[in-house]
């Protein structure tokens, strides 16, 4: 919900500027995958703060629980077992909205004001404007938004926009016991990440690095990965995420061009009528020839 209505940089399906008089600092959540112990406190805190509850599910042989993001579970620890550097590694990634600088969901959304991007970088869904078409699901390069079976509205992580608006950190950050999750200005988070990466490299993780994919303009949720060269190891975190070219074409050039072409087709008809004129049948002939 919008508490920060003066700092909206982008609003879905809106062609005029949104209220953006107030300028705020870009924020970011940094997820240090290398420090995560998989306790799921962040998952619980998320549901707690947002007052949502997941259904009790069944075990399918993985610690990942629930099995996927849902309209109730906006963040999820995904567990993967791999053999990197000749040893078993248990890679745990906290999945959820990445809060892209160039959000595919917002680009795809046809409903004015259903998706909002704030100056601080948070991409928020305003479900009261959501019409349930699911275009955002197609627009998202990270497979994040979930359509609720209850109300046909789409839900995802808000980066606790309500808490951040009043100067609090997101609920997941507050709950993390190992400081694998930290929150602050994007600048500070990059600096902090670089310290962590230097430390990891010293300890033998040569490919440690920051995940802040440029294909979506960077994100406001970033990862420190031990294997930044292979993000797919972490339950298919995309290597070079971009808004799908199909969606880009549909919502980019095609949308205004097709709209203009339809308008001009109708206009051409009118101009034809007032220049060439109608094609009339001489009915007099008819009377002569029975």
């Amino acid at each position: 919900m919008a508490l920060q209505s003066l700092d909206i940089v982008r609003r879905s399906a809106t062609t005029t500027p949104s209220p953006q008089q107030r300028q705020t600092t870009e924020v970011a959540k940094l997820i240090d995958v290398t420090k995560c112990i998989g306790c799921k406190a962040c998952q619980s805190a998320c549901m707690e703060w947002n007052d949502l509850r997941e259904e009790v599910g069944i075990n399918e042989g993985s610690y990942t629980n629930p099995h996927d993001l849902t309209a109730n579970s906006w963040t999820l620890m995904r567990f993967a077992e791999t053999e990197e550097n000749g040893t078993l590694e248990w890679l745990i990634r906290k999945d959820g909205c990445m809060h892209c600088a160039d959000p595919g969901c917002l680009k795809a959304c046809p409903s004015p004001g259903a998706i909002i991007q704030y100056a601080n970088g948070i991409v928020d869904f305003h479900e009261e404007n959501c019409i349930g078409c699911g275009y955002c699901i197609a627009g998202c390069p990270f497979d994040i938004p979930r359509l609720s079976e209850k109300d046909s509205k789409v839900y995802k992580c808000t980066l606790c926009s309500d808490r951040v608006a009043v100067g609090l950190e997101p609920a997941c950050i507050k709950a993390c016991p190992t400081q694998a999750l930290v929150f602050g200005s994007k600048e500070d988070m990059i600096e902090h990440a670089n310290e962590r990466i230097a430390d990891l490299k010293e300890r033998g993780f040569e490919n440690a690095g920051l995940y802040d994919p440029p294909g979506v303009g960077g994100t406001h949720v970033m990862y420190v990965l031990h294997h930044a060269d292979k993000p797919e190891l972490y339950n298919d975190l995309p290597k070079d995420p971009v808004i799908s070219p199909t969606v880009g074409l549909w919502k980019g050039i095609f949308k205004p061009l097709a709209t203009a072409a339809i308008f001009f087709t109708a206009l051409a008809g009118f101009f034809h009528y007032v220049t060439v004129g109608p094609n009339e049948t001489e009915e007099e002939d008819e009377e002569k020839k029975p």
Binding site: V247, W250, F254, K255, T259, H272, E280
Partner: protein
């Protein structure tokens, strides 16, 4: 056929054909306006006609199914009159004369002219694709059964087909306004003999053959 020909007018469409056409037409207009509303924000206000944006999203695909069924009946009825002939190619080459109302020496047109035939096949193609892609993107019922790349492709194709058919139908509607005497065929079912001789001489010959005893 129970055709009824008076000295001045000839039957062109039966009441059931007219009903079928207008069900297709009404559902098409509803689909075009509800679809355009969700295509570009400049037309989002069309959603108000359908009871708001969420209702627009809910109703659009169901109306689409109705139009598909209605159009299928129409297509089944008319497809055999819509094969392109050599004359049609000549007619199309002289489209410049056609739009300038210069009809002298144009090849003889049967029940439908080449423009009408091309629109018919365009509609066959786009409406089939609109149905198929429409099912793929239909939430909450079907979209989640398809891989996301297929959904994305379907969304783009749905928009492209809709664009093509909307432009086609604008031409179709305009042609009915431009060629005087045409609208009556779909409203009352009849056209004048002079209209038939002028615009569809081949068809005129066929339907009046039986009159010469």
């Amino acid at each position: 056929m129970t055709t009824r020909h008076s000295p001045r007018s000839i039957d062109r469409y039966s009441p059931s054909e007219r009903l079928n056409h207008w069900i297709t037409a009404i559902t098409f207009l509803m689909l075009a306006f509800s679809g355009l509303a969700l295509f570009h924000p400049s037309m989002f206000w069309f959603t108000q006609v359908f009871g708001g944006p969420t209702w627009t999203r809910i109703l659009h695909p169901y109306i689409g199914v109705v139009m598909f069924v209605s159009f299928s009946l129409l297509a089944f009825k008319f497809w055999r009159h819509n094969f392109l002939t050599r004359n049609d190619i000549v007619w199309l080459r002289r489209i410049g004369d056609v739009v300038r109302n210069r009809e002298e020496g144009l090849p003889e047109v049967d029940r439908y002219n080449a423009g009408q035939k091309l629109l018919f096949w365009t509609m066959i193609g786009t409406i089939s694709l609109l149905l198929l892609t429409g099912i793929v993107i239909w939430r909450p019922w079907f979209a989640h059964y398809f891989p996301i790349d297929i959904v994305r492709l379907a969304l783009l194709l749905h928009a492209v087909c809709a664009f093509v058919i909307i432009c086609g139908i604008i031409v179709h509607i305009y042609a009915a306004i431009w060629i005087k005497g045409t609208l009556g065929a779909m409203v009352r079912g009849t056209v004048t003999r002079a209209w038939a001789r002028k615009h569809h001489p081949g068809w005129y010959k066929q339907v009046t053959e039986g009159e010469k005893h």
